[in-house]
Assembly symmetry: D2
Homo-oligomer: 257 residues x 4
């Protein structure tokens, strides 16, 4: 029987524990795994693609590559077109990420950007993240990830849709099940902190701590993981707001001047 071929990417670099756990299990389960990652942590790089300079592919070992100073979307781009020579893999897996990608976080997320890039090429794609970066059980999460991967391979995904999957950060045997969710609020309480450099200059650092205890509406990714479920959010490629078109028409928005 032929093996399923996986293009495995992430945004944390090739040393990421989440990536390596999933890679190992995929290999044990007899998948063919081609891994392509950034050379270091590229969290927060969203769907960036590098147009302003050429990129170099380095080979770590058989079927394991990294892109020097490359973004997650670069990894998908070069992984598919150059390393796989344009032969479509059966699935693109992004992750398992180091920290959460919930709600608004997914706009900034390189993990999610990579899954979108795969979807643009017509590859069924999925992004995996833990609900918290505090000691996630990557081994257990990798087991669950493989179940979801198999489901995608058996049932398929709607066209131009990929999945953003988040595992609750609890023991795997305490997980209550899987939920289809919508994008809710992010996992971070964001803030900007002021710093004074050693040479007395003012800097601002964007960031924030995970704030998993806060409230969020039901039905969302955030609430699902808080309540012990694996959150599966279908994400669309088409960004058009069709309802918005109707509202703007009713407002006679185009009668400009």
């Amino acid at each position: 029987m032929e093996k399923y071929r996986v293009l495995l990417v992430n945004d944390d670099g090739y040393q990421s524990e989440g990536l390596l756990s999933l890679r190992k299990k995929l290999l044990n389960e007899n998948f063919e795994v081609i891994t392509v990652t950034p050379d270091r942590n590229m969290s927060g790089t969203s769907h960036s693609l590098t147009f302003t300079r050429p990129l170099k592919i380095e080979k770590l070992e058989e079927n394991f590559y990294y892109i020097v100073d490359g973004t997650p979307a670069d990894c998908v781009h070069l992984g598919y077109h150059i390393i796989l020579n344009g032969e479509k893999p059966d699935i693109l897996i992004s992750g398992i990420n180091t920290g959460p990608n919930l709600g608004n976080d997914i706009f900034y997320s390189g993990t999610v950007g990579a899954a979108r890039e795969g979807t643009m090429f017509g590859i069924p794609s999925v992004a995996f993240s833990p609900a918290s970066s505090k000691n996630p059980d990557f081994e257990g999460m990798a087991d669950l990830a493989i179940k979801i991967v198999k489901q995608i391979l058996h049932k398929g995904l709607p066209e131009k849709v990929f999945l953003n999957v988040t595992f609750p950060n609890i023991k795997i045997d305490q997980i209550k099940g899987f939920l289809l969710t919508r994008q809710g609020r992010g996992a971070y309480r964001e803030e900007i902190k002021k710093y004074i450099s050693p040479s007395k200059e003012v800097y601002y650092w964007i960031g924030g701590e995970e704030a998993l205890e806060e409230e969020c509406e039901r039905g969302t990714d955030y609430t699902a993981v808080r309540e012990g479920y694996v959150s599966i959010t279908p994400i669309r490629l088409d960004l058009t707001d069709y309802r918005g078109i109707e509202i703007l028409e009713k407002l006679s928005f185009l009668s400009i001047e």
Copy 2:
């Protein structure tokens, strides 16, 4: 009468002709304009936000700042929270960009990422781009941009929606009008080119030429500008594919194992 306050950002840096044309006209039209840009071309950086280091704000002149090594979304973040001290501007304008942001291009676009960042903060936001980077008439486009800005200020925008506006690259007096469009195909014919460095190493460069003559479905941004209309696409913040949830439910996707 009080002035409208504009937060003006871009992804091309503070020397961009498109930005400066629009800024000048806004000032002439008696808007209060606070400009915050990257220090150089940050095209392709999508919705990246810088978490891994602190950022420095430099003042060019009164109400004109740039962020050293900052992304477009960083400019919105620091512009709103630090420079404007958290006081919401009446509108966020991103652009006028140097080249087109159509269809799939908008995933990579820093210009569009900045407009999304503004929308996340509840600021009515709009991104402006020309349909081609070949000698766009930024003066004429800035006039049209101001008309659209006034329309947004008068009529408002639907909640969690921003506008991606593209001007056809023709003489302004030949423009046929405005169209509400959906996201179509990109403006670039993408490719990856192989390069050999002077020290004989292999590199790959992602890029592509503008290919404005190709076909695209009617009703899209791409077709609108090709036919001489200003394309106005409402872009949604919510990335959830609700139809996808229904399809996956029908497929019993959650019966995992």
Copy 3:
């Protein structure tokens, strides 16, 4: 009469006040000035040369260029070989820098790295810096710089030697004169400060404050500017320690094993 041709570079970028003051005076004095700078502050980049990616030259105005993401040595390299097409200028001027380059600072200094790069190409080269970054009188320093430039053009420099010039940070009419000096101690009291990022990670910031009041041996750059003199240190290209060869021979260093 033919004009002297100057290749003017720096490490602070094209908006640097010190650079622009000197450029203006050089033009007023009827020099032909070709300016090539980094696109932003590249202080601390020493003699770095960019081998890992290709570089783009942008033209700001006639005879004024910057290199996107380029180092000071890149500016000299591309300025001489590409912009000047390999025609040797009469002199290479680096600066006026924003802060001091004294003693050990000159190892890290991009300003000094650029002057060394020029010397490697056989171009008479000089680096200019103020003794302090606190409100230097760049106008007055530019006047003095031009006098030194003329002296170099009239008298020449020893082979494989360039000058590192530092102006005391006092009123120009209070300057006591010029001194030939040796490399002494740096202008900064260095330290490493610990920072906690917003996401609670530990970072270290190398830096330090200027400490101009400290002691230093007589005859050095540091002491000269403290006492009100312009310091002129001849810097050698040859890094070999010939005395060290003799000492190691006496130690029978080569009787290895």
Copy 4:
């Protein structure tokens, strides 16, 4: 007996074969080895020190660290002051580098920059490189490197002097011996190549091929390795050209105006 403590750094990152070969042999020889490297290839970064942002130290394993986006000199700085807590190691070793650092190359060399940084802190320091990047025998070179390291530990180095050592790229048993040399010509035939990006923009790439067959004066590093000797060049910290001071005095250089 107490172990000798080594601070081992490089400019190629922690995966460099040359570094790992030397590290393994040092550990086998019962040295205590604290390794601190950049997170990736930082060749060409000279003596750059990062002042413009804080740095993060990541631990790979016991006594093995890397600095995220850090330069070789950053590794020495943070290795000594933070990781070793300011306790001076017995020796600083930089390398074994991936390619040659001969003649003018050493101005650009991060490997040499790191050794200079160690010398500035009063640590006996040495940089090791092969004469060619074409299949160097790093195992054999590491054996020789350890002999030189022991010699430095036994005999000491002159004050403010470090060693730049280059191994000929031949079988170790064919090496003719060791030579004390002066800085000669570089190992690269430099050039700038023009490239057209996929979006039709002009770029220039600085680089060059190794050109080991060319002529060079006797007594230099270049000639030594060409003739089958290990080249040992003592490099001085003091950049002052004392002969230059005399020449300029004779020229009445200071009679300015």
